[in-house]
């Protein structure tokens, strides 16, 4: 009884690039139901009892790992956290050996973060378990883009036709890449703002507008999506100093006033206050930064549910 739902085609979520518009919309629609679960006193459903989820993190991360962990627990799965410093990887075990050993422990879903682009893709090919990319190098961070899209839809009711500015270090940002694919697939008008050294030429569709000035780029946008300056990747001089970065690219009250009056401000966290964004803006009513955090759990629950569905019945 009960009708069958729309399904994802793949057992894995490696990148937004591989998802169709229908699949993205399916994930976002499904997340609405899970957001409701998060509002209850009892924030847990029995849906995925007996399933095992492994967080396999080769890069430090507290937020994303915690968000996935909470999402998995609220679906009643068992969750194991593997982090690089505590695992046998330091003893020289190969990546695939580590992953297949984790699968042999009975993992149904492996959530992977790695500093090298393409690792989730590699694992997806080698494992029967579902693989979810939680960020790979400078390539993609698909669930971040999905939670960003969900947050925008919650505010505006839809995404098609919105003007969305992504600001900062596009070059090193997997968040930006996933968001560009996701938002454009959903019909948004995406523009990029940042220093020429941090916006790679020729990587994206030529019809994406690029601005090298906040004053020019922020005019009348609906969404200002700030990126984190990745201090750990800035040792090769993409910009002179953080002071100068703030002066040219920091989001201030005055600059935000150039956007539409009902524009929202987003940031994937953790924020560098005083470098890419001022506290005044980050904590203002226009900021949806904390909504992003909450919505991340709902969207990740939706992804875990749909991938389990895609694997069910063989």
């Amino acid at each position: 009884m009960g009708e069958t739902g729309r399904q994802l085609r793949s057992k894995d979520i490696v990148g937004i690039k591989d998802l169709s518009r229908e699949e993205i919309e399916l994930i976002l629609d499904t997340a609405v139901g899970f957001k409701d679960v998060l509002r209850r006193d009892i924030k847990k459903v029995p849906t995925l009892r007996g399933k095992t989820v492994v967080n396999l993190f080769f890069e430090p991360s507290t937020r994303t790992r915690t968000s996935f962990e909470l999402a998995a627990k609220r679906l009643s799965t068992d969750v194991i956290n593997f982090s690089v410093s505590a695992s046998s990887v330091v003893k020289g075990e190969s990546l695939i050996d580590t992953a297949t050993a984790i699968q042999a422990l009975g993992a149904d879903v492996v959530i992977i973060r790695h500093s090298s682009s393409g690792v989730p893709h590699l694992l997806a090919d080698h494992l029967n378990a579902s693989v979810i990319n939680a960020g790979d190098g400078i390539n993609e961070h698909p669930t971040q883009a999905l939670l960003d899209a969900f947050t925008i839809m919650e505010r505006f009711g839809g995404i098609s036709g919105l003007s969305i500015a992504i600001v900062g270090d596009i070059l090193h940002s997997r968040v930006a890449k996933s968001n560009i694919y996701c938002l454009r697939t959903l019909g948004a008008d995406v523009r990029l703002i940042g220093p020429p050294t941090l916006i790679p030429e020729g990587l994206f569709d030529p019809d994406i507008e690029v601005f090298h000035s906040m004053e020019e780029g922020l005019g009348d946008v609906d969404v200002v999506m700030m990126l984190r300056i990745q201090m750990e990747r800035q040792d090769t001089g993409f910009f002179p100093t953080t002071d100068e970065y703030f002066r040219l690219w920091g989001l201030t009250r005055e600059r935000l006033a150039l956007a539409r009056p009902d524009a929202v401000v987003m940031h994937p966290g953790p924020m560098n206050r005083g470098i890419e964004i001022v506290s005044d803006v980050a904590d203002s009513p226009q900021s949806v930064i904390l909504d992003q955090v909450t919505n991340g759990i709902a969207v990740r629950m939706a992804v875990l549910y749909l991938l389990s569905g895609a694997r069910s019945g063989g």
Binding site: M1, G2, E3, T4, G5, R6, Q7, D29, T30, V32, G33, F34, D36, V37, R40, D41, I42, K44, V45, P46, T47, L48, G50, A302, Y305, L306, S308, G309, S312, G313
Partner: protein
Amino acid sequence: MTKELLDSTDMERTITRMAHEILEKNRGVEGLCLVGIQRGGVHLSKRLAERIKSIEGRDVPVGMLDIALYRDDLNIRKEYPAVRKTDIPFEITGKVVVLVDDVLFTGRSIRAAMDALMDIGRPARIELAVLIDRGHRELPVRADFVGKSVPTSVGETVNVEFSEEAGVDRVVLTGK
């Protein structure tokens, strides 16, 4: 082979009678709320609420409940069901909740719905209203309010159609 079990006039009369029975058993609408199970139960719960309002002149709160996350067959299904909206914008703790579904069959949906309700609050009592009881229970579940009991064979399908979606009110039995 298709057979019409109820036409739109039958459905109208049946729903009116069920509304009266709900009011009779609960002696009015005090502390009463309706929760329709997605999707067939949602339309029926709204119809019942309209009828109750026209009889008593008072609104009764109506919510909708999705049971996909509580189903007992997720591990044996080929595909997972779509997750639909749960929207119960009122407190159910201490209330009499009338669960509403279009067809009562194995009873498994009702088990799932009761578990889902219990995670949302602690009703004083749960009652069950269904438009069609087609038999073949697999769990010890019975309805308090039944529109029509219909003997069926397991392979047959009972479809309740509401004008909101199908353009017409009717109940159809389709054979194998």
